[in-house]
Amino acid sequence: MRAIDWLVLIVTLAAVIIYGVYRSKTTRNLDGYFLSNRSMSWSLILLSIMGTQASAITFLSAPGQAYTDGMRFVQYYFGIPIAMVVISAVFVPIFYRIKVYTAYEFLEQRFDSKTRVLTSFLFLLSRGLSTGISVFAPSIILSSLFGWNIYSTNIFMGGLLIIYTMGGGAKAVAYTQQLQLIIIFVGMFLAAYLVVHMLPAHVGFTDALQVSGKLGKLNVITTGFSDKGFNWSDQYNIFSGIIGGFFLALSYFGTDQSQVGRYLTAHSVRESRMGLLMNGLVKVPMQFLILLIGTMVFTFYLFYKAPVFFNSTQLTKLETGTYKDSLAAARDAYERLGREKQVQVSAFTSLADTGSKTAVAGKAEELRALQKSSDSIRAKVKSWIKASGGDDNDTNYIFLNFVVTYLPAGLVGLLIAIIFLASWGSIAAALNSLASSTMVDFHRKFSKKEIRPGSEYRISKWYTLAWGLFCIVVAMFTYNIGNSLIEAVNILGSLFYGVILGVFLVAFFLRKIRNGNTVFIAALLAEMLVLSVFMATQQPSLHFKLGFLWLNPIGALGVVLFSLMIHPFAKDPRPAGEVVNGK
């Protein structure tokens, strides 16, 4: 990086930390620290919800995902608007009426203590580990790209935000997320503008759409059906997006404390609902635009030399290993194909403006054949990297490679700052929620001594620090995850989210089930079912494939069905009038 990039990076990060510390002043009790005294407006709630969900991985992986697999990844977000409606209508009023700090408190009032502890524990386990991955994911990419030490990068990525998160709690988290998102949107907009601007003069935006579309990158809507019927292992299609994505989003936004903790800071049900519903309106178009940047980067690389594999560290390793001669030959062939594609794409764009439909279709067919050859060379190189024990997925490196190689000085620093800021937004919210669950669902619950509000505040700050350190330690031990990192985090969430959601669904909708043992046993059985299904999909000998999004409905519906099956054999502990349902 050049000096100007370092300057932009340091100034941006320092500004956010100073702003966070400036906004840290809050009441020294749990209400102030975890709920910001329930004072936030819907616009802050919206930005906080978005800043919590959108990690660095979102901005790194999504354009890369569009480059390799097309825009169909956007379907993964189709369940979010539906989930926002259900949460606004059902979850939010109940959480407000019984004035909870964490979502899991409600389960103790509705069922019993152990159900609350189980769900809170599952949350701490999955959120703690996934936050560690959220620290590691951008760190490994930056350290590979710039040769930075991975350990110090992890500490900067996961450590600096602790300064304001520990001191200011939920309030500092929300205000810094607001500033972070503004910087992120400005940076992404500039990157999008420049990638289109840097295309050759004769290639306009619609030409770029035509080209990337013909090469299969604008597959926004896919059904998952083929000649052999529905493909259950297909990760992203309209059905898995709406059904699986709905269950995942309902669980994430409705029962994951890192999100529930954001909208509980609103000063009324109205502000919470508006924040959630606005998120339902803007999330899908936002992801569409981020993915569209990826397709523009794809078109850009049709005119400029694209590396055969975007993670240069892995390529360097291959250059010195047993595949070095094969790699050299593959690179030559890839570059030759690149030059041919460049000529053909220029010819295609000229034809698309003036030529006949048949001529355009013929040229598109030629382009597809060339792209297929390029893809097969890339696949070969990936197989060599895998055979050499390396990470064969370069999705997360594609957009950054473009940024570092082609964007002007200063903007590179800003885009690197964006990676830090996006990480900080989601990690800070996660640390705040991990601390609130530990404090409220465990410490305060199991402590035999009476704790004063001032002490609760101090202990909560220490929990925030402890979870920050835990996540950095997890990041230090996370190596070679193998698949795309965004998927690794989502898969981890899908193993637990469905079950947690199932417990809440029983609590909200099956009022006749009042015995805590019923839902507790049902949750354990459903978790075993989810883990068994997931392990079965990992065994090649079983030939059983299932997209990870389907684990969410399996877990959620599993708890509901097991609860209904166990219910007739369980005693009813309380008269119906005593049931806590929020009314």
Binding site: P81, S88, L209, G213, N219, V220, V269, R273, G280
Partner: protein, 40 residues
């Protein structure tokens, strides 16, 4: 009496807001479908 603070902005009921969010999603999916059909 219903708390005035919980009344939705712009519309008279929350159901209208829910309809707007779902309707917008449906419209987006239709637009995306046309986008896919046009370019892919």
């Amino acid at each position: 009496m219903k708390d005035q603070k919980d009344k939705p902005p712009l519309f008279s009921t929350w159901t209208n807001w829910y309809g707007l969010v779902i309707g917008f999603l449906v419209a987006l999916i239709l637009l995306f479908y046309l986008f896919t059909k046009t370019f892919a």
